[in-house]
Amino acid sequence: MVSNVERYAWTAAAGLLLALAIPWFLWGSSRIVAGLPIWLWWHIGWMAVASVAFWLFTRRAWGIWITDRGERA
């Protein structure tokens, strides 16, 4: 099972993934790159990042907050 620090780090990482799926910092931008708005490219890339993050999560930390609750109770 992962450490307590890592448990919170994964929770924060999930928050970050959700927070930046829409690139708020590109608000109002209409720059086109390779035919599509740059903010759409960000989103597509971000979803790929999410997929990799989920892969890491399933390998390292699957079960946190669910099957590790007994030790702490």
Binding site: A21, I22, W24, S29, L40, H43, S51, I66, R69
Partner: protein, 501 residues
């Protein structure tokens, strides 16, 4: 010629689905767990695509491109955040824990899972009744969509009532026979088919107009600023309200939630989670871009008068057989959402209303039979209501706009269940009274806000569903804090038992 071809393809699809259903029927055991959950045997591909195809209602296929056509491609971000990420996190937070509990205790519905832990038949039935209340109009929505699509396809030769009735009768036969296993198999075929078709459509359009540059110039000329992120329609508040309330609603929609129980193993859940965001992007980006590109291509679609932009684009830029395939696929998408809903609606009724309240000693075989009868009653009831509504109130409106309106209302209604359930799954001190109050209060406020004309449905740009979700969270925690657990409660089911392994 096109209409005949499209009809032929729709009928062909129905026959393939029926054949799959028959094979599934021959394979099933006559038990409720097998009928409703395929005995919890889904592998990665089937689980992934059955959840995916279940999510893709008419709302995604006709409503989504229409919104991207009217307001811009930001809809991709809204749906990506909603279905690709928030739902994926809930896949773990709600889905994995539910799956574990289902494996240990044989739960078939979320109401059953809550009723067992909180020792309350009332809670179990409340969750089922609330769910059926929102599910029923949503099934109607799919029937109205299918009836309208068949009417448009045949230029009125097949009237609305006939189209909706034929589709419903077919679904009844199919769902009664096939059960969860057959539905999931056709979902898999259909999800893969739509993915291929949507990409083929994009390539086709790009080949004909010689690149996306031409389209972008057209958009810039027709609607300057259309591609800039954000607009009067896409405010941050509205985007987040849609994404959050629909994602939480999806996770509690019976036909989606129930699929969390059906995975064969942890490995299946893990792999599906990893592939999920990629699958979502692969479908939504091309589907909604086609809607936005219609603006630059000079395609005229009168959404307000009931037209949908996607079929019009396909008609103008692809051969008629291809357009027919995609439209048939979209009708199939409506049906695959509806047949899953019928099955889940029936399981909620037999499992959480009939069994605990009427006959607790019902045998497995009889429950299986009752489940099949429930499908018929549910579908016929929804059809009668659909025909009644269509005859009176819905004459002039746009199918797309109505789909989005009612669809959003039902999703918001289901979203109200999510936070109390999550609190129950993760906070040991949640009590029976806390759950009853936390589920009932936001439902009442949400319904009142949407159906009492004097009450506004948004404050400071945020939709009422978000406020109601917060209300549900606060009420669940507050009431749990001040009440003692009932004697029948058994919190260990959700906590110590799971970590004992």
């Amino acid at each position: 010629m096109t209409a005949g071809l499209q009809l032929g393809i729709v009928v062909g699809y129905l026959l393939v689905a029926l054949a799959v259903g028959l094979v599934a029927y021959r394979l099933t055991e006559r038990t409720a767990e097998d009928y409703f959950l395929a005995s919890r045997t889904f592998g990665t591909v089937v689980l992934l695509f059955t959840v995916f195809a279940t999510l893709l209602s008419a709302f995604t296929f006709f409503g989504g491109p229409d919104i991207a056509y009217l307001h811009g491609p930001e809809w991709i971000l809204v749906m990506g955040l909603m279905d690709g990420l928030i739902f994926a996190v809930l896949w773990y937070v709600v889905g994995y824990k539910q799956w574990l509990l289902g494996q240990r205790h044989g739960y078939v519905t979320v109401g059953e899972m809550l009723g067992d832990r909180f020792g309350s038949v009332g809670l179990r039935s409340l969750v089922a009744v609330v769910s059926l209340f929102w599910l029923f109009p949503y099934v109607m929505l799919q029937q109205i969509g299918a009836g309208g699509a068949l009417r448009a396809l045949t230029d009125g030769v097949v009237p609305f009532w006939a189209g909706a009735t034929v589709i419903t009768v077919f679904m009844i036969v199919y769902v009664v026979l096939a059960g969860m296993r057959g539905i999931a198999w056709t979902d898999t075929l259909q999800g893969a088919f739509m993915l291929v078709m949507v990409w083929a459509a994009v390539v086709w359009v790009l080949a004909i107009v010689e690149g996306v540059g031409t389209i972008n110039q057209g958009i810039a000329a027709a609607e300057p600023g259309f591609l800039a992120l954000g607009s009067e329609f896409y405010t941050p508040q509205r985007m987040l309200t849609f994404a959050i309330s629909i994602a939480f609603g999806v996770a509690m929609f019976p036909q989606v939630n129930q699929r969390f129980f059906a995975a064969a193993s942890e490995r299946v859940l893990k792999r599906s989670l990893i592939l999920w965001p990629v699958l979502v992007v692969l479908l939504f980006v091309p589907a909604f871009l086609l809607g936005t590109w219609a603006v630059g291509l000079g395609v005229e679609a009168d959404i307000g008068a009931g037209e949908n932009v996607l079929p019009i684009v396909l008609d103008q830029f692809t051969p008629s057989w291809f357009a027919a395939l995609v439209v048939a696929g979209a009708i199939a998408a409506m049906m695959s959402s509806s047949d899953s809903m019928l099955l889940s609606g029936s399981s909620y009724f037999t499992r959480d209303v009939y069994r605990p309240l009427v006959d607790a000693t019902i045998s497995e075989r009889r429950e299986d039979l009752l489940g099949r009868i429930g499908v018929v009653v549910f579908a016929v009831g929804a059809l009668a209501a659909s025909l009644w509504v269509e005859a009176g109130a819905l004459g002039a409106g746009s199918i797309g706009a109505i789909l989005v309106d009612i669809g959003d209302l039902a999703f918001g209604g289901f979203a109200q269940l999510a936070l109390p359930v999550i609190v129950a799954l993760y906070w040991r001190r949640t009590t029976q009274n806390g759950m009853l109050a936390g589920i009932a209060a936001p439902q009442l406020v949400y319904v009142a806000a949407n159906f009492v004309p004097a009450l506004p449905t948004a404050y400071y740009g945020w939709g009422i569903s978000i406020y109601c979700m917060l209300l549900g969270l606060v009420v669940t925690v507050a009431v749990s804090s001040v009440t003692a657990p009932a004697e029948t409660e058994d919190a260990a089911i959700y906590f110590e038992e799971l970590s004992a392994e």
